[in-house]
Amino acid sequence: MRVPMASFIQLLVSGLATGAIYALIAVGFTLLWQTSQTINFAQGEFVMLPAFFILAAMNFGAPFWLAALVGIVLSVLVLGVVFKLIIVDPMLKHGVLPLVISTIALSLFLKEAAKDFYSSQAQPFPTLVPAVDLHIFDAVISTDSLAVLAVAVATVVALHLLLHKTRLGRSMQATAQNPTLARILGIPVRRMVLYTFLINGVLVAIASILISPIYLAKFTNGETLGMTAFLAAIIGGFNQVRGAILGGVILGILDNLSAAYISSQYRGAFPLLILIAVILLRPQGLLGRIEERTV
């Protein structure tokens, strides 16, 4: 099947836009893993929920920008602070698996909560900017996918600057890499771990604002999103933020291109095949560090 260049560019741009959103979700996911060994199986539901916070705020008459702000703050409080204090903290000392079960139950809880307390129907969600089609070299590119791309890239850049250029960010990285040593160096490890949960709250809220206009706000949205973020994190490298970014972008582009060029029925299978190949050939992920095994 031949597809002209113009539509290839369109697919690439929309792939980049969704890939950038996946990257945001995947970065939050890896941050939690790095600092607290939390495999958050509810991450997809974390992205689904803030859209409902925002819609609820708008139902009270708030304008979109204010509602978005409320959504981000609520998301930081509920999905950051409350999640950490009530679910993660009591279980951390018992190893990874009980917490995995708990986050699986949490994902069911959030999904049902959104369904029972808001609506089981897909809700329309406002776009960031009015959708206008731009014509660039025969390719039709919508302004809202450019806006999505811009916001997502800006968020990732801001996060990168925070993590690499500030003292706070370097303290967080130290916490992720070696908590014991970080504590000896006088870094308040517990507070740093809490900060990563707050950052995850912000990231999922932004991702929610970006993706809900495309998929509509629906309580089942988390299922595929969480899975994709998860795959992106593993493919890119579970213990590296830039790995998660790379993984997200690869999956976004791959998803769009494979659906158009190869098979839309099996579009869900390509990320999995890449995943299996990556894990077998390079288990630490494309950009990941090798984790040492203890004897």
Partner: protein
């Protein structure tokens, strides 16, 4: 302690036999579901609880077993042959899935098996020539064995219970053989097991293959129980649910899967008194349960008993018994 255990087992067995006579057909269906899923959970407990290989693929094996049995029966095979073939097929596929486990461990292994589950789901959904896709396979007949028709819900329950007893006894025997010890050695310290001369490679593959076979046999019972199978039943949700059963019951405890499956099958139904909110309540209860007994219900009971024993009898250190942990 042992006598107490034996008495408990007899009581539970009597309940399992007597209960269907007091239940409505839907109740009988639910406890049959408990029996069938317990078999799959026993398999996962073997792979995860004893051998320490994290697997999110058990639901996929239930699916492969269910589809294999249903399709073979449609092709005219007698049920026993279909049942055994489903088990053997899953044994083979499980063996192959064990190879990644030789290279990666822990969370990476969970991801590989998770990918496998999703791939199996996609194949079941998309390969319509074989699986009828989203339309599923309907009117799966319940078997007639030696002239005994299991068409009636109670009869099928007893048939499943009989299979559960056989398979559980087989697993019990295997866990007490050198194989079972080798599985535990894999979980506790695979490097040390290797240096002590255990063929860890073969045992890892075996742990996967046998656990998957139990998943497949469970599927071969699942198909005639529900009589209609479709791909969604075997998506990631089922694998998560089976993992939940093993962890909530008590991973690495022989009776953990029985209890975990009981909780996962019956608790949501009991919660129906909360009407529309029953799934929320169920999810909340699971989170509370994990917070208070992270080692599963049986893990907690065992700890409590040990603590009581130490209080009664302080100078004797605990010497043997099943290793606790992960």
């Amino acid at each position: 302690m042992n006598r107490l255990g034996a008495v408990l087992i007899v009581i539970v067995a009597l309940c399992a036999v007597g209960l269907p006579f007091f239940l409505k057909p839907f109740g009988v269906y639910l406890i049959s579901m408990w029996v069938v899923l317990t078999i799959a959970a026993i398999g996962l407990n073997l792979t995860l609880g004893y051998a320490g290989q994290v697997s999110l693929a058990q639901g996929a094996f239930v699916g492969i077993g269910a589809y294999a049995a249903a399709l073979l029966m449609q092709a005219g095979w007698p049920y026993p042959a279909a049942f055994v073939s489903a088990g053997l097929l899953c044994f083979a596929v499980g063996w192959i899935l064990g190879y990644p486990a030789l290279r990666v461990q822990h969370h990476y292994l969970a991801f590989v098996t998770l990918a496998f589950t999703t791939l199996v789901f996609l194949v079941l959904r998309n390969e319509e020539w074989l699986t009828h896709g989203i339309y599923g396979i309907g009117s799966i007949a319940r078997p007639t064995l030696f002239g005994w028709s299991t068409n009636n819900p109670r009869a099928f329950y007893f048939f499943s219970l009989g299979m559960l007893t056989l398979l559980a006894a087989g697993t019990w025997w295997m866990l007490r053989s050198p194989w079972g010890r080798a599985f535990v050695a894999l979980r506790e310290n695979s490097v040390r097991a290797l240096s002590l001369g255990l063929d860890t490679r073969r045992y890892t593959l075996m742990a996967f293959a046998i656990g998957s076979m139990l998943g497949g046999l469970s599927g071969a019972l699942y198909a005639p129980l529900v009589q209609f199978i479709e791909p969604n039943s075997f998506a990631l949700g089922l694998s998560f649910n089976l993992l939940l059963m093993v962890i909530v019951g008590g991973s690495g405890k022989f009776f953990g899967p029985f209890l975990g499956a009981l909780i996962a099958v019956l608790l949501p139904e009991w919660m129906r008194i909360a009407e529309g909110y029953y799934l929320i309540t169920y999810a909340a209860l699971i989170m509370v349960m994990m917070a208070f007994c992270p080692y599963g219900v049986l893990g907690m009971v065992e700890r409590a008993l040990k603590a009581a024993a130490v209080r009664r009898d302080p100078p004797m250190p605990a010497v043997h018994g099943e290793a606790t942990g992960s």
